[in-house]
């Protein structure tokens, strides 16, 4: 009870009390161990648990408690041992055998699962146990590296096992039929599979709708039996397959066999004429139905599209697409989905007809103007939906893109008028519902975004934020408003408002993988370190629990016989494990922790140890990296040539991977630093070589080479100067890293490490050359750092002609500078650890000889000068940051008169708010960066030898 309530201390006490009375009460011991585990005493908990486990307990309480404990320890393999022992002692226990099976399932021991399943079946001849065993065979075949082995051994064996049950007429459950189907499908025995589904066993398939039909269809397709595909019915999926099969049959010049009566599934169409007739019939049929159906009309357009694609001009039989789309709009224009329906077919319109087409649509919408010369507005929601559909189509056809700046601005005004008018209709909406006119606002913002990015109109971006904030105030659940606000604030370098917006999106589960990038790309880059940590944590928590959760799903699937889901669960887990985002947050989180803590609160060595980082280890599945990002999460109505393309996705993945490689190599190089230091000092060079440190430097040097290569590829990539659409994938930080000089600084730092190592091994005598090289490196390093610093100078916010201009890149540069200074300091403390023993040795010698003839080698002076310079530089940066802070605080936005008198009073209010948010966010960034740098400055002082 205490454990359940989270009162672990009391639980331990109670367990202790019990143990005093009954010395060998296993269960009490285990409960105590759980208490210990939960209070952070993992080692004690483990020892205690092993004590009990060694006795091979067979009482249910102890076993279950131990299972819970091991699961919390993330040691599921120990559970298998536990039940293996229990089963040996109590060989006839159905319960323990089934626990053992599940324990194997958690760790994926398929072979043992197979045996455990059979053992169970022998004790209790229940069908599920038998089929657990069969499923385990399938899993062995899926996980087998050798496809041949799976096709010649595992699957045929599984097939025979099921056949045996079929022959004995012992098939009971739907799941068993599913399993049979799975086996045959994987064996590519499509004909046999079809027979099963169509036969008596197929009657058991009831859980999913159309389960039999869909399975048949899948098999017909595999068998290329187009006649049957053609004749089976389904909804939209049906039309697609229907067209596919008709055209296949036409291509094959198929004619119906004379004698046999049609196909297995009925009448077959094999000519265009038949298809045309069929679609027309569907439309006639539709007109009789009580609720209008979209399918038949869309099917007609789809048929035209396909005919055109084949170069056939038989479409005259079907009608003019422009007219058909017009008719469709008249019928379904008031449905919110009308736009997405028609979007697919706009290619059928010639571009010369665009304006006419839009005009034609507008003509049929009932709009009325209050007075002459005023905008005609819809009188009800239906008219509003229709009009909104036309506006969306106009954007899709590029009509707005082609406009002059002035025209665009007047469209923005019109859309906002319509937006505000439309709010009338949504007064009774709950705050969880969207407003009917929200898209007007969003479309207006898209136009303004064009003005900002393509025409350099600075006021436009503030207007974007203004309108979105206004929209959000009326429609607080609109995710699109939030997402676009996030994107624009980030582009302006203001992360502070983003955290709150993102949390109000209430991202769950898989979304941490698909849209987490919105946060993680910017939080750290903009100096919001605490928020960055948190963003990474969201994602990491999800990825780590995925591993555990998936095993639970698998167990459930076995229990309920949902066999076909098991491979899906496993594929899902694998996909998440090789997620690009997962690898990124793992790497960035560790870099961030080092940046914030290493050599400030704990030593670099300890930090690295606690992360179990090692320079040799690379845990990123480079070849299998999966891009799970949802890059179209932000709506847009852009024409195809401006939309996010497959090419953009490919390039973005390439860029992200290159950048990840640079970051991961940097992390591994930093983690190599402590491995180079002496653990026992002082000692001579031979000894260090013997101790295997020399191989460590080889690792570091090879990583450095890889880093150089990665940087080269990164530079080549950037030469392409790729511009992603503004709503598409955000570019990585790589371009800034190269252009502000941090990259050069960081690589030269690792070269310095290599030189210092050389000095360490060769000693102070006969190393004049290395010493000089080190001296030069120190000097050029300071110069380079100063270069990076120069890229950070300037004002963050500038007031120009009554509007604000922001310079977010200065923030990104500052963050890179702080990071580079931190790495410099870690390298410097390695230098220090090498030079200090040398110096004390020299001083000892001096004392012994009592003469001043022992000259100080030049490297000491170099180092001292360098440390002094570094200190000055860092102080200067801190002063600069203080300066920025003062300017930011002094900037009184209230005094800023908003020139645009066209702005409404309400808009002005929102503009002030968003500008205030950006200002406050910059302030926050500057403060966090400043704080961190001050801590770093303190550590420089320790470096004076």
């Amino acid at each position: 009870d205490y454990l359940d309530n989270g009162n672990n201390k009391m639980a331990i006490q109670q367990a202790d009390k019990l143990l005093k009375k009954h010395k060998d009460l296993h269960c009490a011991k285990v409960l105590k161990a759980i208490g210990l585990q939960r209070t952070g005493k993992q080692d004690e908990a483990y020892t205690l648990a092993q004590e009990v486990a060694a006795l091979e307990p067979t009482d249910d309480n102890s076993l279950q408690a131990l299972t819970i404990l091991y699961r919390e320890m993330h040691r599921p393999e120990l559970v298998t041992k536990l039940y293996e022992a229990a089963v040996k002692k109590v060989p006839n226990s159905e319960e323990y055998h089934s626990h053992l099976f599940m324990a194997y399932a958690r760790v994926g021991e398929y072979k043992k699962m197979q045996q455990a399943g059979m053992a169970l079946y022998k004790i209790v001849p229940k069908n599920p146990y038998y089929f657990w065993s069969v499923m385990s065979l399938i899993m062995q075949s899926i996980s087998a590296q050798d496809e041949n082995l799976s096709k010649t051994m595992f699957l045929p064996l599984a097939e025979r096992m099921v056949e045996k049950m079929v022959k004995e007429d012992k098939i009971e459950a739907e799941a068993e039929v599913e399993l049979y189907y799975m086996i045959l499908e994987r064996l590519e025995k499509y004909r046999e599979a079809l027979d099963v589904v169509r036969g008596k066993l197929g009657e058991k398939l009831t859980s999913e709708l159309q389960s039999r039909e869909n399975k048949c269809m899948a098999m017909y397709k595999k068998l290329r039996r187009w006649p049957e595909c053609n004749a089976l019915s389904d909804d939209w999926q049906f039309y697609i397959t229907y067209f596919d099969s008709v055209f296949q049959l036409i291509d094959e010049c198929w004619t119906p066999p004379l004698e046999e009566e049609h196909s297995l599934e009925g009448e077959v169409h094999y000519s265009i004429e038949q298809a045309v007739k069929f679609v027309e019939e569907r439309i006639t049929e539709e007109s009789k139905s009580s609720r209008p159906l979209r399918g038949p009309y869309l099917a007609k357009l789809e048929l035209i599209r396909r005919l055109r694609h084949r170069g056939c001009n038989d479409e005259h039989k079907l009608g003019d697409p422009e007219e058909l789309m017009f008719q469709y709009f008249k019928k379904f224009g008031d449905k919110p989905c009308c736009f997405t329906d028609l979007k697919v077919f706009v290619d059928l319109l010639p571009s010369s007809q665009y304006t006419k087409f839009i005009g034609q649509l507008l003509g049929v919408i009932p709009l009325s103007a209050a007075a002459e010369g005023e905008t005609a507005l819809p009188e009800d929601i239906r008219a509003l939906q229709q009009h909104l559909c036309v506006v969306q189509l106009s954007r899709l056809l590029g009509l707005y893109h082609a406009m002059e700046k002035k025209e665009k601005l007047s469209v923005v005004r019109e859309l906002m008028l319509r937006y505000r008018h439309g709010l009338e209709f949504g007064k009774s909406c709950l705050k969880t519902e969207l407003q009917f006119s929200d898209y007007y606002c969003l479309l207006a913002v898209h136009l303004l975004l064009d003005l900002w990015l393509e025409e350099g109109e600075e006021t436009a971006v503030w207007q974007c934020l203004t309108l979105l904030e206004e929209g959000l105030s009326h429609s607080p659940s609109n995710a699109q408003f939030k997402l676009l606000l996030i994107r624009i604030y980030c582009r302006l370098g203001a992360f502070e408002p983003v955290a709150e917006l993102y949390s109000s999106l209430d991202a769950k589960h898989i979304q941490h993988d698909t849209i987490g990038y919105l946060l993680t790309r910017y939080a750290e880059a903009l100096g919001h370190f605490a928020a960055a940590s948190q963003s990474c944590n969201f994602a990491l928590r999800f990825f780590h629990s995925n591993q555990k959760d998936t095993s639970e799903y698998i167990i459930q699937a076995y229990k309920y016989g949902a066999f076909e889901k098991i491979p899906e669960f496993i594929a899902f887990r694998n996909r998440l494990n090789s997620s690009l985002h997962f690898a990124q947050v793992r790497t960035e989180r560790m870099l961030l922790d080092l940046l914030l803590e290493a050599n400030i609160t704990t030593s670099l060595e300890e930090s690295i140890k606690s992360m179990s980082l090692s320079p040799e280890e690379d845990d990123i599945p480079w070849k299998d990296l999966r891009d799970n990002r949802d890059l179209t999460v932000l709506f847009n109505w852009d024409p195809k040539d401006r939309d996010i393309s497959e090419e953009h996705r490919k390039l973005s993945l390439e860029e992200e991977t290159l950048w990840l490689r640079i970051r991961s190599l940097t992390l591994r190089l930093v983690s190599g630093l402590p491995t180079l230091s002496h653990s026992i000092q002082p000692k001579n060079s031979e000894k260090t070589a013997e101790n295997g440190v020399s191989s460590k430097i080889d690792t570091v040097r090879s990583l450095l080479q890889q880093l150089e290569a990665a940087v080269d590829s990164g530079k080549k990539f950037l030469e392409q100067k790729i511009q992603y659409p503004v709503l598409g994938p955000p570019p990585t930080r790589m371009a800034g890293f190269f252009s502000n000089g941090s990259c050069q600084c960081q690589t030269s730092l690792f070269y310095l490490v290599s030189d210092i190592y050389e000095l360490d091994t060769s000693g102070l005598e006969d190393s004049a050359e290395v010493q000089e090289r080190i001296g030069n490196s120190f000097k050029s390093l300071i110069e380079r750092l100063t270069g990076v610093f120069n890229k950070c100078k300037g004002d963050l916010i500038e007031v120009r002609d009554g509007t604000l201009k922001t310079h977010a890149n200065l923030l990104e540069n500052l963050v890179f500078l702080v990071e580079t200074i931190s790495i410099t300091l870690w390298v410097s403390s390695y230098c220090d650890s090498v030079l200090r023993p040398f110096k004390s040795n020299l001083q000892k010698k001096k004392k012994k000889k009592k003469e001043s003839s022992v000259a100080m080698p030049p490297v000491f002076t170099h180092f001292l000068d360098y440390v002094t310079d570094l200190q000055t530089l860092t102080s200067n940066v801190i002063d600069h940051i203080k300066g920025l802070e003062i300017i930011l605080t002094a900037l009184k936005l209230e005094d800023l008169s908003l020139k645009d008198t066209l702005l409404l009073q309400e808009e002005k209010k929102f503009t002030k708010t968003v500008q205030g948010k950006v200002q406050s966010s910059y302030h926050h960034s500057i403060q966090e960066i400043g704080e961190l740098l001050k801590k770093r400055l303190d550590t420089i002082k320790k470096l004076k030898i």
């Binding site: 909804d235 939209w236 609720r291 989905c337 997405t340 979007k343 709950l430 519902e433």
Partner: protein, 106 residues
């Protein structure tokens, strides 16, 4: 209707069978039902409910039940239109995260 190259998230219905057969309590349960805003006003929810009922029927369910927020008038009205009736009100079934009182359910 995933007909454009970008597959749209359109609708979903999750359900399960629960209860005991012996006590005539074996029934279908609607766990969640949602239709994307774009695809509302098309009668899809009714269609989805129909499908779920069909499966429940095939599996020998005696009835179908569900929970819905009292405030979700749109959904409540829809279910009523489909012939469902309020069996009982469960107090504070939905937990609120923002400190507001937990909401009741039908």
């Amino acid at each position: 209707y995933p007909k454009s190259p970008t597959v749209l998230h359109v609708f979903a219905v999750m359900g399960k069978a629960e209860g005991s057969v012996a006590r005539e309590e074996w029934h279908g349960h609607v766990t969640a039902l949602s239709v994307a805003p774009e695809f509302r006003r098309l009668g899809l929810a009714a269609k989805l409910m129909e499908l779920l009922e069909e499966i429940s029927e095939k599996k020998g369910g005696f009835f179908v039940d569900l929970f819905v927020r009292v405030s979700n008038q749109v959904a409540v009205n829809m279910y009523k239109q489909l012939g469902y009736s309020v069996y009982r009100t469960v107090l504070e079934y939905y937990s609120a995260s923002n400190g507001e009182p937990d909401e009741d359910a039908y």
